[in-house]
């Protein structure tokens, strides 16, 4: 066990998988000599060479397209999108091709590929470096979407994604890269895709979150405990396939649920979680399911005051949680 940051855990995860399996390679903008803009692949270029750590042109469609071609030929590519905001040019490749490949070929072919994308705000990244994209891709059958919030989960889920036979969109929250530290188990420590994790047990209300919001929710749970409110924190970790059983279990346990994400609310992940609860745990609810999300505006602004206004933070979550507890 060693304490690592999220970015270190991701680097370790790629390193170990590349060492373990020769078919694993990394492709993306500046991932090679530069080691990635966030230094996620720092040192890998030297260790594995230019054939396994490939600097791509500034063309996301190309990055994902190359990865699809390699995967269908038996390789296990890791395609890095420098910022999740830049993924739009690759959407056609991801949705029309990658997500449907297995379905289209009746399972004759599958694409064991990972698309890594740093997402989320709170880093003064403004319109092109702050967005949340999970809902857009989680909507697509055939894709898996994961969004770890801790170093251990970051490494374990990355390994699971690389070993998975199907395309996985791996979302790493930029703000957590160096902010969130934690113990990472030695060895493989694979975290299964599709399993949520109760990060804190509680009985009065449930906070459901992922990514950076997990850290905030744990902070909020601590403050609630000081008020005598026992909050359970469920980390979704995987957005698709979502862990319905875990969501239903916590809703049934506490009867009060607050879903938190920084993505905009409309047709978002929280909406899906709430629907699952309403369809499966209505009889156990003690209050309407609530959510805290970013506002329904086009993008995260640069102005720091406005960025702060956009981002859910512990204060906003705490206020809503207290409201829910008081119902």
């Amino acid at each position: 066990m060693a304490v690592k940051t999220v970015i270190e855990a991701i680097r370790d995860g790629m390193d170990e998988e590349m060492a373990r399996d020769e078919s694993v390679f990394l492709i993306g903008e500046d991932v090679g000599n530069r080691g990635g803009v966030f230094l996620a692949s720092d040192g890998l270029y030297k260790k594995y060479g230019e054939l396994r750590v490939i600097d791509s042109p500034l063309a996301e469609s190309c990055i994902v397209g190359v990865a699809i071609g390699a995967a269908v030929n038996g390789m296990r590519p890791i395609a890095e999108i420098q910022f999740a905001d830049f993924i739009a040019p690759a959407m056609n490749q991801i949705i029309e091709e990658a997500a449907r490949f297995s379905y289209r070929t009746a399972g004759d072919f599958n694409l064991p590929m990972v698309i890594r994308a740093p997402w989320g705000g709170g880093v003064h990244g403004a319109l092109y470096h702050s967005q949340s994209i999970e809902a857009m891709f989680a909507h697509v059958p055939g894709l898996k979407v994961v969004a770890p919030g801790t170093p251990a989960d970051a490494k374990g889920l990355l390994k699971a994604a690389i070993r998975d036979p199907d395309p996985v969109l791996y979302l790493e929250h930029k703000r957590t890269y160096r902010l969130v530290k934690g113990e990472v188990p030695d060895g493989d420590g694979v975290v299964p895709i599709g399993k949520a994790d109760v990060k804190r047990e509680g009985k009065d209300l449930s906070l459901i979150a992922y990514g950076l919001m997990l850290t905030y929710c744990l902070e909020v749970a601590e403050k609630l405990a000081a008020d005598g409110i026992s909050a359970e924190v469920l980390d979704l970790r995987t957005i698709r396939p979502i862990d319905r059983a875990a969501i239903i279990a916590t809703a049934r346990k506490t009867g009060k649920v607050l879903v938190v994400h920084e993505d905009t609310p409309f047709a978002g992940v929280a909406a899906e979680v709430m629907a699952i609860i309403m369809e499966n745990a209505f009889d156990a609810l003690d209050a309407p399911v609530m959510r805290v999300t970013g506002p329904d505006v086009p993008a995260m602004p640069f102005n720091h005051v406005l960025e702060e206004a956009f981002m859910p933070n512990p204060e906003k979550i705490l206020a809503r949680a207290r409201e829910l507890a008081a119902v």
């Binding site: 009065d204 009867g255 009060k256 009889d283 156990a284 609810l285 003690d286 209050a287 008081a326 119902v327």
Partner: protein, 425 residues
Amino acid sequence: MASVKMPQLGESITEGTISKWLKQPGDQVKKYEGLVEIITDKVNAEVPAPLSGVLKEIKVKEGATVTVGTEIAVIEETAAATPSAPKSQPAPQAATPQSATPIAAPAPAEESATEGQGGGSTEGRTRLSPAVRALIEEHRISDAELARIEGSGIGGRISKKDIEDYVTKRAQPAAANGEQRQQAASATAPALSPGTTVPLSPMRRAIASNMLKSKQTIPHAWTVAEVDMTNVVRFRQKVKDSFKQREGIDLTYVPIIVKAVVEGLKAVPILNASWSDQGVVLHKDINVGVAVSVDDGLIVPVIHQADRMSIAGLAKSTDDLAKRARAGKLGIPDVQGATFTVNNPGTFGTILSYSIIAPPQAGILAMDAIVKRPVVIEGDAIAVRSMMNLCLSFDHRVLDGVSAARFLQGVRRWLEGFSEQVPLY
């Protein structure tokens, strides 16, 4: 269709018993025509039909007691009887086939009908979350228990936690102490042979709830004055026959005491008052309730504005109210609005009575039996005098012993100073 509901026949009346249906299903009824006779704890009343039509259905049988607001009958308005059909009714289907509204219209009407039925039950009272409902079911929590649980949620909502806390509390002391006590009791005490249960009449229920409420909310204080009634007794002896001849009624002690009470209340107005959280309300009118015992219990008709009446007027008024009370012919106004009550247990020979105040009044005076006793009078002589105890129960929130004693003192002086000069009329 219009539903007829159990009317609220007085401010504190919560239920009524159907005494007699004056119309049967199928009968034509006219608006304001007598439809049903209802007994409440205070009065009997004939309830008129709210509209003209045909009595379609009787929902509550004779003898049954239901809460105010319960549907007791359904009247179908007849076209002839109601030329102006209510506008809320959906239009007849044949009227406008080209429009979609006639088809759509009945739906909301049905909805509101079912909602109305649901609202009548306990569900309408409080809004319970699914989790709370499930817990109530699981732990078999009765409506009465639920009513006792204080909601900690917004607007007093009962939350899941409140129920869980209640269930834990209910389980602990009850299981521990209750069982032990029961066991101990069953070990020593011989079993009681079964008695008979007398069903509770509306009046019995009303008395029970009023008395309970009074004793639970009003801190009663009690004080007694001994009154020499000799002058009053002599006077009454002297005039009672002529009074009876002239007025056709007996001159009892009650109107004389009521007169004395009125004088006492004028002198000590704090006793003619009601407690409220905002302050003590001093009443302008002096309305004296006079307790009358009837077959089933007790009723307290009211002499309104007793301060404007002579002794003869009070005598007429008490006689009339007592007769009508025993005949069950009192109206709602006859039993409402008392600001003070006079009770007369002395007729049954009692000498010290502790009456319970009828809320929201501040006091009740019991007149006990007039008995001849040797009494030390002026000049240290011993004489045989007609003595009576006046026992006052008062609301100690409203006034203190000094005011109560001053009131009793006033009443006593007025009675002891009675002479032929006191006008009867």
